[in-house]
Structures are given as structure tokens and as C-alpha cells.
């Protein structure tokens, strides 16, 4: 186990390192320096600026410097606002985390409940209804769902304000928009693994021994059925983080996702770089934790 964990952590570090390389060299490959503004700047000023930000050094050296700063917690300065990126990023991320965290919790809880209901009523009406709606849910990109929700509930019905996230209930629509896809996925996952668990010998044994139906379902079947759901947590974090980029943009929530999108339109390269690396680290860590937890929860999994 220790060897497996060490190997996974090493792989995660290598991935993060590769991501920083890709990000850094990709951003450097963009023609034109960051100080090429429409307003002509004198060469002397540009030279001073470049020296100030180490841009006059060779790319390799710049990368080493960037990494050194990054490891010391210095994420650079936004080309657009001129402020340090880290402070901005963290305050924006807290908004995104609130939104994403809620979406994740909603997706997991409702997904598991629906999946269990579908499995217990196999081929009956509830099962068919649930599978119908989850199939629809996986066919709808989050941005389509988000705009349609906005159109129906904010513009047409006027139940929610179109702009801002000042009060609590306004999280409702963005959370729904983000949660539907992972929820549908978890429902299907839970259903198949629950059906699998219900067919196991230990369920029959428990029933034969006279264990109550509720106990059989919750203590014996569901507990084992939830193990495969754990594997989806990593991909779900990735889905919610990327999905929040468009959803935050549509619902005008000032989170990290919308910051990323605006920095793309503003060509704010240092911010793009920092946010990419930050989100990538989050996703890689989420996947790492998912894998390790999975091995802990289910000792039957072969360690390879």
C-alpha cells in the first residue's frame, strides 16, 4: 500500500510539473510580448519593464525563475490589473468552491438516492423515469442547461434575479446547472453497482437469516454499492471546475471560472497561466485522493 501511494504521489507530481511546463512554454509561444500595447511604448521603457519582470532572460532561465517563485508561493502579477494574482485567485476561488462544493454535495446525495431507488425498482416505473431523466441529463452540456434555466426562471418567470449572487437562494440555479450532469452519472453508477450488490450471496444470506429489509438495503447492499461511486469523485471535481467556467459566466458570478474566461478575452497571460496551474493542481490532487481512498475502502482491488 505504501509503495502504491508513493507511486501515485510521484505520478501526480510529474503531472503537475508537466502542466507547468506546457503552460509556461505555451504562453511564451504567443507572439508579441506582454507590453505590446496599442499605445506605442518607447523601447527604453519596454526594456526596463522587461528587465523588471525578467523577460530579457532566455526562456529556460525564465521558467526556472517562474518555478522558483511558484514554489515560494509567488504566482506572479496580473498583466491586466497589475495586482498580485494569488490574493485575487484565492478570494475568487472561495466563491467557486462554495458553488462547486454545493453542486458536488447535491449531485452525490441525490444521485445515490435516485440510483438506489432505480435499482430497487428495477424495470418498474420509477426506474424507467429516473433512467429517462438521467439520460437526458447526460445529453445536456452544462452551459445549455445554465442558459435555459436562466431563460426560463430568471427572464420568463422572474423567480430569481438575473444578476449577482448577493443572497443565498440565488445559488439555486447555478448549482442545478452544475450538478445535473454529475448527478445523472452517479445515478447510473449507483444503479449498476447496487444491482450487482443485490445479487451477491451475502445479501441472500442476510435475508435468509431474517435481517430486516431496511437493514439489508442500507447496511449490506448500499454500502458496497457506493464503492464505485468513489472513483467518480475525481472526474467530478474536474467536471465541476471546468463547468463552473461557463456557468459562472452565464450567471455573472465572480468566481475563479469567470476570472479565467475574462483573462482569456483580456489576453492576461500571467493570470491564465496561474489559474491553469492552480486548477490543474486541484484536479490532479482530487484524482490522487480518489485513487488512494478507493484502495483503502475496497481492499479487494489489486495494487498494481
Amino acid at each position: 500500500m505504501a509503495k502504491y501511494i508513493a507511486k501515485r504521489i510521484l505520478l501526480a507530481i510529474v503531472s503537475i510539473w508537466i502542466i507547468t511546463m506546457i503552460t509556461f512554454f505555451a504562453m511564451n509561444a504567443i507572439p508579441g510580448g506582454p507590453f505590446n500595447k496599442e499605445k506605442a511604448t518607447s523601447p527604453a521603457v519596454i526594456a526596463t519593464l522587461e528587465a523588471r519582470y525578467n523577460l530579457d532572460k532566455p526562456v529556460g532561465e525564465q521558467y526556472v525563475l517562474y518555478m522558483k517563485n511558484l514554489l515560494h508561493g509567488d504566482w506572479g502579477i496580473s498583466l491586466h490589473s497589475g495586482r498580485p494574482i494569488w490574493a485575487d485567485m484565492i478570494s475568487k476561488f472561495s466563491v467557486s468552491a462554495k458553488l462547486g462544493g454545493r453542486a458536488a454535495i447535491v449531485a452525490i446525495i441525490i444521485g445515490i438516492i435516485l440510483g438506489a431507488i432505480a435499482a430497487l425498482n428495477r424495470n418498474k416505473l420509477p426506474d424507467r423515469l429516473i433512467i429517462f431523466f438521467t439520460t437526458l441529463g447526460t445529453a445536456m452540456p452544462s452551459f445549455v442547461l445554465a442558459t435555459l434555466l436562466l431563460l426560463v426562471f430568471c427572464v420568463r418567470l422572474g423567480w430569481f434575479p438575473v444578476v449577482s449572487l448577493s443572497s443565498e437562494p440565488n445559488y439555486t440555479l447555478p448549482v442545478i446547472a452544475l450538478a445535473v450532469y454529475p448527478m445523472a452519472y452517479i445515478t447510473r453508477l449507483t444503479k449498476t453497482s447496487m444491482l450487482d450488490a443485490l445479487n451477491q450471496d451475502y445479501i441472500r444470506t442476510a435475508r435468509a437469516k431474517g435481517v430486516s429489509k431496511v437493514k439489508v438495503i442500507f447496511l449490506h447492499a448500499l454500502r458496497n454499492a457506493l464503492i464505485p461511486v468513489i472513483t467518480y469523485v475525481g472526474p467530478m471535481v474536474a467536471y465541476i471546475l471546468t463547468g463552473s467556467m461557463v456557468v459562472e459566466n452565464i450567471f455573472t458570478i465572480g468566481g475563479l471560472g469567470s476570472t479565467f474566461v475574462t483573462s482569456i478575452t483580456n489576453r492576461d497571460y500571467t493570470t491564465i497561466m496561474a489559474v491553469t496551474i492552480f486548477l490543474a493542481i486541484l484536479m490532479v490532487v482530487a484524482n490522487l485522493l480518489t485513487d488512494i481512498v478507493y484502495k483503502f475502502v475496497d481492499p479487494r482491488i489489486k495494487l498494481d
Binding site: 508537466i18 505555451a26 508579441g32 452540456p141 452551459f143 474566461v261 482569456i264 478575452t265 491553469t276
Partner: protein, 360 residues
């Protein structure tokens, strides 16, 4: 005879045939013999799968829907006299009043023209957009772009995945180990972020260089999307193919082929890959919607096809600004995306049920 030599156990229920003579048995009549005949024709793997697929109403419905969509996007541009980048003009004069028309509406200028000449103009089925372009034809071209992006991306992913996966799986050992480590690393990269990143970079780099080439119409974003698909998305396909090959290559017929000196390449092509075919088909069917998803997502971020060409995602994105007044412009492309993705997902599921018999 072996039977008679063996001593019968006292407890055995086996009938002792030596006690009977041929008189105790009747010959089977012709009718009885006919019952033993094989009535059904022998079926091939493909026919068998198709038969199962045909029984699946959801999958068949999806095929019908997809066929209809493809038929419409092929035929419609030949019937509708407008083009996706053409601003409606009457008598060669640009019609300023033709922007933002509703379903089947004509602009004042067009109405006047029809009254004067008595000639019928082709209706604007979905109206026009804010620049006065026929929206129906834009949706048609958007669907064309989205579908072809999905299909091309899926083919690329499948080809690279098959080649990579089959080499790793077939040769095994150190080759496999190194190749799969690379896959592990690529797999752990967040693909969406890298796509956005590379799109941003290539958009800047390619913008000038593409002008005048075939690719200029598609735009740098599409090219970068294909590049990223080619670089990143094949890994799950490669893993899948490798797993399949690992199990298939241990079969006796592969051993037999190797014994008679068949080359590695031929064994892969003739014996192993055809047996992975069902998995390949299913994954391809499911890969197309995921590519369409990605494309529409990028288009929504403003990293999609470049104007005046449209994709379903970019149409939806453009419609967001006028959402309050012209919701149909948002709903139509959104619905088509959902319809295509839903149909392909259901078809993929149906194919899996029909062809992947190992699952049950």
C-alpha cells in the same frame, strides 16, 4: 467393449444396455428426424448483433433521428437560396430591415418586392439573426460543423488509440510498461484546461499564417482543438484497446498463427483487431458526442470556429446577448445539440448491448 468390462456399481442408476436387444428399440420416423434439423441459418457475429440492435427501439429511434438530421443538413443548403454568411438582400441591395425577423417573416422590403414582382421569396424558416442573416441556414451549417468536428475528432482518437494501444498490448513487457506510463501521465492531465490553453496559444500563433489556406475557414481554434484531441483524447481509447488485446492475444488461434510464422503486423491486423471491433465501434459512437460537447463548450467560451462560420455552440453563445427578446435563437441550437448527443448516446448504449455480449 469398455462398458461391459467395467463393473457396475450397485448404486449406479445407469441403464444396463446389455440387457436390451435391438428389438426393444424403435427406429425414429422421418418426422422425428426432422426435429433434429437446424432450422435457423447460421448467423455471423455482425448479423447477430444487428438483429439484437433492431429489437432495441431506443437505438433504432436514434438511428432514425440521426439519419434525418444528416439528410436535412445535406439537402437543405441546396434548397434554401441563402448562405450562412450572406446578409439578406433584395434586388442586389442590402436589406437593412431584415435583421431580427421572426419565424417565417419577411422584411418590409421583401414584402414590397414580392408584391411588385409577384414572385415568391423563400421564407426565413427560423427568421434572421441580428445581422440579417437567415437563421435556418446558419443552424444547418452550425449542425454540419458540429457533427463533422465530432466525427473527425472521433476518427482521430480511434486511429491513434488503436495504433498505440495495439502496439503496447501486443508487444507487452518493457514496451508496454513505458507506453502505459506515458498514457498514465497524459491521462492525469486536465484535458479541458489544456485544450483552452492550447486554443488560446494557437489562436494567436496561427491567426496570420492560416490566411489563404484550406484551414482558414475553419479557423485556428478548430485546428487547435483537433491537435489537442490528437494529443490528449486518445489515451482512454489506447487503454481500452490494450486491455482487449492483452486478453485476445492469449487465445489459441493467435498461438497457432504465430506457430505457422505469421508476421506480427498480420496477426494484429487479421486476428486481433477484428476481435476488438465491437469495443472500437461502441467507443467511437460514444466519442462523437463527447467531441461535440467539447466543441460547443469551447465555442461558448469564444474559442470555437471563427466567424462567419458557425457551430451549434457558437450560435448558442451569440444568442445569449439577445436572450430576452429572441429566446428561440438560443433554444434551437441548444435543442439540436441535446438531440444529437442524446441520439448518439442512446445509439452507443444500444450498440454496446447488441455487440458486447461479454458484458452480461
Amino acid at each position: 467393449m469398455e462398458n461391459t468390462e467395467m463393473k457396475k456399481s450397485l448404486l449406479s442408476a445407469q441403464v444396463d444396455l446389455s440387457k436390451f436387444s435391438s428389438a426393444n428399440f424403435e427406429k425414429a420416423t422421418d418426422e422425428e428426424k426432422r426435429q433434429q434439423d437446424v432450422m435457423g441459418e447460421s448467423t455471423t457475429f455482425f448479423k447477430d448483433g444487428m438483429r439484437r440492435l433492431r429489437k432495441n427501439p431506443l437505438a433504432m429511434g436514434s438511428i432514425v433521428v440521426l439519419a434525418l438530421i444528416i439528410l436535412i443538413i445535406i439537402i437543405a443548403p441546396h434548397i434554401v437560396p441563402y448562405s450562412y454568411d450572406q446578409i439578406i438582400s433584395v434586388n442586389g441591395v442590402r436589406d437593412k430591415g431584415s435583421a431580427n425577423l421572426g419565424f417565417f417573416m419577411y422584411s418590409d422590403r421583401e414584402l414590397q418586392y414580392m408584391r411588385e414582382t409577384g414572385e415568391d421569396l423563400f421564407p426565413h424558416i427560423f427568421g434572421t439573426d441580428s445581422l440579417g442573416r437567415d437563421y435556418f441556414i446558419r443552424v444547418i451549417y452550425g449542425t454540419r460543423v458540429s457533427l463533422s468536428v465530432g466525427i473527425i475528432a472521433a476518427i482521430m482518437v480511434v486511429l491513434i488509440g488503436i495504433i498505440y494501444g495495439s502496439i503496447a498490448g501486443y508487444f507487452g513487457g518493457k514496451v508496454d510498461l513505458i507506453m502505459m506510463r506515458i498514457v498514465d501521465i497524459i491521462y492525469s492531465l486536465p484535458d479541458m484546461l489544456i485544450i483552452i490553453l492550447i486554443s488560446v496559444v494557437l489562436k494567436e500563433n496561427l491567426a496570420g499564417k492560416l490566411a489563404g489556406t484550406v484551414f482558414s475557414k475553419l479557423g485556428a481554434n478548430m485546428i487547435s482543438m483537433f491537435i489537442v484531441f490528437g494529443l490528449l483524447y486518445w489515451v482512454s481509447m489506447a487503454r481500452l484497446i490494450r486491455g482487449q488485446i492483452l486478453t485476445i492475444k492469449n487465445n489459441e488461434y493467435v498461438l497457432a498463427a504465430r506457430c505457422i510464422g505469421t508476421s506480427n503486423g498480420k496477426i494484429l491486423r487479421k486476428h486481433i483487431l477484428p476481435n476488438c471491433l465491437s469495443v472500437i465501434i461502441i467507443t467511437t459512437a460514444l466519442q462523437i458526442p463527447s467531441a461535440i460537447f467539447t466543441e460547443s463548450y469551447l465555442a461558448f467560451l469564444g474559442l470555437g470556429v471563427s466567424e462567419p462560420l458557425s457551430s451549434l455552440g457558437s450560435l448558442a453563445n451569440d444568442a445569449r446577448a439577445g436572450m430576452q427578446s429572441y429566446p428561440a435563437r438560443l433554444v434551437i441550437p441548444a435543442l439540436i445539440i441535446c438531440l444529437i448527443v442524446l441520439a448518439l448516446n442512446l445509439l452507443g448504449d444500444g450498440l454496446r448491448d447488441a455487440f458486447d455480449t461479454k458484458l452480461d
